[in-house]
C-alpha cells in the first residue's frame, strides 16, 4: 500500500466539499431572499419562542460517550487479534477471552448501577429511595 491508494479518497474529499459548497452558493445566489423577523426566528411550530434553548445536555449522554470510547478501544484490539488468529491459537483465544470477560464485567457493573436505564420512571424509583431530599426539592 502506498500513498497512491489514498489518492481517490483525497480527490473524493475535494469533490464532495466542492460540490456541496458550490451547490449551496449557487442556490443562495439564484433563490429569493426575503427575510422577515418571523422567518428568522428559531422554529417552534409557529409559537413565539419563550425560552432560550437549553444549553446543557443531561449527564447520561456523557456516560454513553465514555462507554463508546471503551468499546471502540476493545474493537481495535479484537480486530488486531482477529487477523492474527491462526498464529496465536488457543493462547490468543485465552488472552482475548480474559480481556472480553473483564469488559463484560464492566458492562454488567455499569448496567447494575443504572447507567443504561433511560426510563424516567425507573430512574425516579432509585431517586425516591436514595435521595428523597432531591425529590422534595424538585416537587417544591
Amino acid at each position: 500500500m502506498t500513498l497512491a491508494d489514498y489518492l481517490p479518497i483525497a480527490l473524493m474529499f475535494v469533490l464532495g466539499v466542492g460540490f456541496a459548497s458550490v451547490a449551496m452558493y449557487f442556490s443562495w445566489r439564484i433563490a429569493p431572499k426575503k427575510p422577515t423577523p418571523e422567518k428568522l426566528a428559531p422554529y417552534e411550530c409557529g409559537i413565539v419562542p419563550l425560552q432560550e434553548p437549553a444549553q446543557r445536555f443531561p449527564v447520561k449522554f456523557y456516560m454513553v460517550a465514555m462507554l463508546f470510547v471503551i468499546f471502540d478501544v476493545e474493537i481495535i484490539f479484537l480486530f488486531a487479534w482477529a487477523v492474527r488468529f491462526d498464529q496465536f491459537g488457543w493462547a490468543g483465544i485465552a488472552a482475548v477471552g480474559i480481556f472480553v470477560a473483564l469488559l463484560i464485567e464492566t458492562l454488567v457493573y455499569v448496567w447494575k448501577r443504572g447507567a443504561l436505564d433511560w426510563n424516567v420512571a425507573r430512574r425516579a424509583r432509585y431517586r425516591r429511595v436514595v435521595a428523597p431530599e432531591r425529590v422534595q426539592e424538585e416537587a417544591a
Binding site: Y62, I70, V73, A80, I98, L102, L103, R125, Y126, V130
Partner: protein, 192 residues
C-alpha cells in the same frame, strides 16, 4: 519535491492551524473543531510513515470517539454560560511557559533517542504499522500490558459512574430496585 513532502507540508500547516484555533478560539466548540483538525492531520502523518493501521485507529479513536466525548462534555457544561475566569492556580502563566518549554525539550530529546519504547521509531523496509505487525507485537511481546489495558478501561467506566451517578452505595441501589411502584402510577412519575 516528492508527493510525500507536499502532503506533509499541507497537513503540518493544517495541524498547526488547528492547534492555534484550539488554543485561541473563544468558543469551546470551535476549539474542539481545531483539535479535530490536528488529530486528523496527525493521522495523515501516520499514513506518510506507512502506519496505515495506526492512522485508521487514530481517526477512529481520537477524531471519532474521544472528540465526540469532548464535544459532549463541552455541551454538558453549557457553551454559552458566562465563565469564571479567575485563575485559581498561582503562577499559572509562568508555569505554563516553563512546562511548555520543558515539553519542547523533551520532544527534541525523545526524537533523537530510542530509549522511549526500546525500539527505533523508523526502521528500514517500511510496513511497520500494518495491522499484522501491531498484532504480533501486542499479543506476543506486550501481552501483559495489553491485559492491563482492560483494567484501565474498567477504571474509566467506574470513574464515569462515580462522576455521573448520584447513587453511591450498592445497598441503597438494591433497596431502590426492590422498592415497589404501585401499578398505574408510572405516568405520574414520568411527569416528574
Amino acid at each position: 519535491m516528492t508527493a510525500e513532502t507536499v502532503v506533509f507540508v499541507i497537513f503540518a500547516l493544517a495541524a498547526l492551524a488547528g492547534a492555534l484555533t484550539m488554543v485561541t478560539a473563544r468558543n469551546p466548540v470551535y476549539s474542539a473543531m481545531g483539535l479535530l483538525t490536528t488529530m486528523f492531520s496527525i493521522a495523515v502523518f501516520f499514513v506518510l510513515n506507512d502506519a496505515h493501521f495506526v492512522a485508521a485507529v487514530h481517526v477512529l479513536i481520537y477524531a471519532g470517539a474521544v472528540m465526540t466525548l469532548f464535544l459532549f462534555v463541552i455541551m454538558l457544561i453549557g457553551v454559552d454560560k458566562a465563565e469564571d475566569i479567575r485563575e485559581s492556580i498561582p503562577f499559572q502563566r509562568p508555569m505554563a511557559v516553563v512546562l511548555g518549554a520543558g515539553l519542547f525539550v523533551l520532544v527534541l530529546v525523545a526524537g533523537r533517542a530510542s530509549w522511549v519504547t526500546g525500539t527505533r521509531a523508523v526502521e528500514e523496509g517500511g510496513a511497520l504499522g500494518t495491522i499484522e505487525n501491531v498484532a504480533d507485537e501486542l499479543f506476543g511481546v506486550w501481552l501483559l500490558p495489553f491485559e492491563a489495558t482492560v483494567l484501565l478501561l474498567t477504571i474509566a467506566a467506574v470513574g464515569t459512574i462515580a462522576l455521573a451517578q448520584f447513587l453511591d452505595k450498592p445497598r441503597e441501589l438494591a433497596a431502590a430496585r426492590e422498592a415497589e411502584i404501585a401499578p398505574g402510577h408510572e405516568d405520574e412519575e414520568r411527569a416528574e
